[in-house]
């Protein structure tokens, strides 16, 4: 069997295993191998698993795979290993969309479908903006890309600040709760709203591996190989805005998953997107399951925001990437 197929197979086995391990750990301990039986026969711990642990763990898995696959896609279409939905402002843009929804439209109640849709629309707008700004003659300039990211991040931050300022007490409560991020508020409702959006996004993005590979040669070369570059870019922007919007509305801004996961996969199995895309969907899920597990068990009974855990992991990783690639990229 090919090395990549093996890696994907291992990840496919690891994902349900991680879900069971994480679902078992908490104030009430459940052994992971007992979980299938408990679910099947509705034994003692069934309600805890069903109403507390599983929505949370599954939501973390879904958000992790959405963030990771959108990071991979962004790196692919920008042909740039430093692209990440958080770094270039898409996460913040989606966050602004969600805040606007909560404060100006939703009237304090977090609308079930409105929140992800608002996040999606603003996320897409930011993706297009960052693209238009950093593209010079068909090539995306790394420095400009990151600088545009800084600008859009702070703009969106200011917008979120303004929304906080405008919010009344009740809105402020929902806004703050949501801005804190994490999976503390995970319920089946949130999961069932996020799941279809995420599935559409994953479905769109997963199919683009072969074309993304060829796009790596540059848009002009890809054109000459009959790669439909324009439609690839459109689908990517749409899919990324969809997945990031859904992830942000479900769990707030969680950084660095989209940066770290594709790189780990490339280190393990090379750059072929037909491997990295599904691999990062699986790997992102596993990573965020454990990041969330860590965040809810390390300071019991309190919870560390999961964004801090991923930033602690991702910050040093990003620095390492910068050092490793600086000669290649910043010439």
């Amino acid at each position: 069997m090919q090395k990549r197929t093996k890696l994907l197979l291992i990840l496919t086995i690891l994902l349900p295993a991680s879900i069971c391990v994480a679902a078992g750990i908490g104030a009430y301990r459940i052994l992971p191998w007992k979980i299938p039986r408990i679910l099947l026969f509705k034994e003692e711990a069934f309600p805890i698993l069903l109403y507390v642990r599983f929505p949370r763990v599954l939501l973390a898995a879904l958000v992790g795979s959405m963030l990771a696959i959108s990071g991979t896609t962004l790196q692919g279409i920008f042909r740039n290993p430093l692209a990440d939905p958080g770094l270039i402002g898409i996460t913040a843009g989606a966050g602004l969309g969600a805040s606007i929804w909560i404060v100006l439209v939703g009237g304090g109640k977090i609308g079930i479908w409105g929140l992800p849709i608002a996040a999606f629309v603003c996320g897409m707008f930011v993706t297009l903006a960052v693209w238009k700004v950093s593209e010079i003659q068909g090539k995306v300039h790394t420095v400009t890309l990151l600088l545009a990211g800084i600008a859009l991040n702070s703009l969106a931050g200011a917008g979120i600040g303004l929304m906080t300022f405008l919010a009344d007490d009740e809105q402020l409560r929902s806004l703050t709760f949501w801005l804190l991020g994490g999976f503390g508020g995970a319920t089946w409702t949130v999961l069932l709203v996020t799941l279809p959006i995420g599935m559409i996004g994953l479905f769109l993005l997963l199919r683009q591996g072969l074309a993304l590979n060829t796009l790596n040669l540059g848009e002009s070369e890809a054109y000459h190989l009959a790669v439909p570059t324009e439609s690839i870019k459109r689908v990517s922007v749409f899919g990324v805005a969809l997945t990031v919007g859904a992830a942000v509305s479900a769990a707030g801004g969680i950084g660095f998953v989209g940066l770290v996961v594709p790189h780990l996969l490339r280190l393990m199995g090379g750059a072929d997107h037909r491997f990295v895309l599904p691999g990062s969907a699986l790997g992102g899920a596993i990573l965020l399951i454990f990041a969330d597990l860590f965040s809810r068990t390390i300071v019991v009974p309190a919870e560390l925001p999961v964004g801090i855990v991923t930033a602690l992991l991702g910050g040093p990783f990003f620095l390492w990437l910068l050092i490793r690639f600086k000669r290649q990229i910043f010439l």
Binding site: P81, L210, N216, S220, Y223, A271, D272
Partner: protein, 256 residues
């Protein structure tokens, strides 16, 4: 095989290429020469179909080039850009396999495609780099992998923008010998090239461009004359003879 009729291309009110009339026959080796910014690359990209001419028409096997489907066109002509940047750790073999994209119809590469890619690598003597990561190769090595990629694309028309850049003399000669061989198999090569002497040795036909206008075209022996070169490049030249009979062009340093 390829006809250019009164072709012009205008960007922001400026003509980059203008009034080009050219007829290119199967199996010919054309060299496009001219100073920087003369329009060599633009003309290649017009011929490839990437740019649409503002005026005139380009016909490929008698049909206007924009009447071809993109996959059809990708199997008929390959284009190699001047600069490439690959930021991800693809292996050389994977890069060469990208040349098979127009034949895949969105499916996985078959063993036959991998065989073709390996054969192409062998033809540029780069088979030992097969598993090396492309971004870690030297400029010359990467250049050969790129040539292997367009060989794997197996077109009838090769459009090369400065394929000998960054190559040492051995590999310059190797690549151009390969182009010559391609022509002998009845395929056509058009290359933009700065090295006048290599152009003189290898091309059957030269097109000399300046400011987007065709100064002259014809076999090197006719095109490479002192006045023409001096007018085109704004420095004076001496023209000698290569021992094998080709015109040998030397810029005259004192006459800037």
């Amino acid at each position: 095989m390829l006809e250019l009729e009164n072709v012009g291309y205008k960007v922001n009110g400026k003509w980059l290429v203008r009034n080009i009339n050219l007829s290119i026959k199967n199996g010919a080796f054309w060299g496009f020469i001219g100073p920087n910014g003369a329009g060599k690359s633009t003309l290649l990209r017009l011929i490839s179909g990437e740019l649409k001419p503002t005026s005139g028409e380009i016909r490929f096997f008698g049909k206007p080039i924009d009447s071809y489907q993109s996959t059809e066109l990708a199997r008929l002509r390959a284009y190699l850009q001047q600069q490439r940047d690959v930021n991800f750790p693809f292996t050389s073999l994977e890069i060469v396999l990208f040349g098979r994209y127009p034949y895949l119809n969105g499916t996985k590469e078959a063993d036959a495609d991998i065989g073709i890619a390996r054969k192409s690598l062998k033809r540029v003597e780069a088979d030992m780099f097969e598993n090396r990561l492309y971004p870690t190769l030297s400029g010359g090595e990467a250049g050969r992998i790129d040539i292997a990629r367009i060989l794997a694309q197996a077109p009838g028309l090769f459009l090369l923008d400065e394929p000998t850049n960054h190559l040492d003399p051995k590999h310059q000669v190797q690549i151009l010998n390969l182009c010559k061989m391609i022509c002998e198999q009845g395929k056509t090569v058009i290359t933009a090239i700065h090295d006048l002497n290599l152009a003189s040795m290898y091309a059957d036909q030269i097109l000399m461009l300046k400011n987007g206008i065709s100064i002259t075209h014809g076999p090197p022996k006719e095109v490479f004359n002192k006045n023409m070169l001096t007018n085109t490049y704004d420095i004076s030249f001496n023209i000698l003879k290569h021992p094998d009979g080709y015109p040998w062009v030397m810029p005259n340093l004192n006459c800037l």
